[in-house]
């Protein structure tokens, strides 16, 4: 498992690996929003948590189709399937690797970008925590979607359509927790529910992902 994680991380940071693509997309979207909305600081403050969360979600979506597509193209996938590593572990490692290369940088960059949207000072901590709790779920759900669409030509669009509805609960609770936290209300409920979704996703989706891979390998 460690070997696969190491390989995927090495591949991500080497030429053509797509590391930083999601981060750059995130940055650009956040920079564009104030231009589109206009220089109304109060309005920006109000929409900042939602915009940050939606942008992070779209940025995570950007690199999903690479999770299994590259391994499918060069034939690694059947070789991994016949290796001692169970496909469930492969699925889990792929999800974790995607999070480390996409979700984690997004989380760390978000506070800096919150500044551009005039985010309330009290919201920064909540933004960091909700992204930290929520983005792993985005990666794991995305891995499941990538397994469903592996081998399909132009599967990226279908992947987005499959995955985006599944992102809704994480988005709702994530943005809600930041809003409530920023306004001084208790954000515990939203945070706990979001954490529950993440844990549930990591408990069940590796199995679903492996099942989808087995079907697609036939």
């Amino acid at each position: 498992m460690i070997a696969l994680l190491k390989r995927d991380l090495a591949l991500a940071v080497r030429a053509g690996g797509g590391f930083g693509l999601g981060l750059a997309f995130f940055l650009i979207v956040i920079v564009l929003v104030p231009f589109g909305v206009g220089p109304q600081a109060e309005l920006l403050t109000r929409i900042a948590p939602g915009i940050l969360w939606v942008a992070a979600l779209l940025a995570a979506l950007l690199s999903l189709d690479r999770i299994f597509a590259l391994d499918h193209e060069d034939g690694s996938l059947p070789l991994l399937a016949t290796s001692p590593l169970p496909l469930e572990a492969v699925a889990l490692v792929k999800g974790v690797a995607h999070w480390i290369t996409t979700g984690l940088p997004l989380t760390l960059a978000a506070p800096a970008l919150g500044f551009l949207l005039n985010l309330q000072p009290s919201a920064y901590g909540f933004l960091l925590i909700t992204l930290l709790v929520g983005t792993p779920a985005l990666s794991m759900i995305g891995t499941f979607g990538a397994a469903l669409t592996v081998g399909l030509r132009r599967g990226g669009l279908l992947l987005s359509l499959l995955v985006l509805p599944l992102y809704i609960p994480t988005l709702i609770f994530g943005a809600e927790a930041v809003r409530r936290g920023a306004d001084g209300f208790s954000a515990t409920n939203a945070l706990v529910l979001q954490g529950g979704i993440t844990l549930g996703v990591f408990a069940f989706l590796p199995f679903a992902t492996a099942a989808a891979l087995r079907v697609n390998l036939r």
């Binding site: 390989r7 090495a10 059947p78 991994l80 016949t82 001692p84 036939r218």
Partner: protein, 205 residues
């Protein structure tokens, strides 16, 4: 350690292609699969390797001892030769042994990125993977594509001395003569009748 295949029927895309395939391999045995294009050599090898279920019949060999190799090598262009091999060795719980690099004439290429190798060199790297994973039952699908005569002989030598000689088994689909003393199984007589039951879902349409 032996491979038993009894009365195996395999399907591709829901359509039966081969039926009633039976053979046995003892340790040290190789079996060459022959047959015209489309007869089902790849499908049979994938079924044997467990990548797809057969329609009926039995495949029996010790668990976690089979390996599959096809036209696609699973080589990452952005990783070097040793990084590629080390990865596959570690996934299989082993370490990369330098003798494998010698066996496949990769010593001079060890630090080159796999993406910069020629087709034949990539193929050698892909075959070298078989040397690091320590699997005893190999299912090889056209292993010598894009290899020159010298490399074919090198691979055949490795297969004979380092694999079969150590009690391994190999089932190989190939059109060229590897120079191995191995029985040849012609798959033509096993071709499935097109209306054979089991794979068609016409009844549901």
């Amino acid at each position: 350690m032996s491979l038993h295949v009894k009365d195996l029927s395999v399907a591709r895309g829901g359509r039966p292609v081969l039926q009633g395939v039976s053979f046995d391999c003892a340790p040290g045995d190789a079996l060459i699969l022959r047959g015209p294009n489309g007869i089902g050599k790849t499908t049979l090898l994938r079924t044997l390797a467990g990548l797809q279920p057969g329609l009926s019949g039995e495949v029996d060999f010790p668990e976690e001892s089979g390996a599959y190799a096809s036209h696609a090598d699973g080589i990452k262009a952005q990783l070097s030769v040793t990084e590629n091999l080390t990865f596959w060795a570690e996934v299989h719980g082993g370490v990369l042994d330098d003798t494998v690099l010698e066996d496949f004439d990769l010593v001079d290429l060890r630090d080159r990125l796999a993406g910069t190798l020629s087709a034949g060199q990539k193929r050698r790297l892909g075959l070298a993977r078989l040397g690091v994973i320590g699997r005893k039952v190999l299912f090889l699908d056209e292993p010598t594509v894009s290899l020159d005569g010298f490399s074919v002989k090198m691979f055949a030598d490795w297969l004979r001395d380092k694999h079969l000689g150590q009690g391994g088994i190999a089932v190989i689909a190939t059109h060229i003569d590897l120079g191995l003393e191995a029985p040849v199984l012609d798959l033509t007589p096993y071709k499935a009748a097109q209306d054979a039951a089991g794979g068609s879902d016409e009844a549901f349409l």
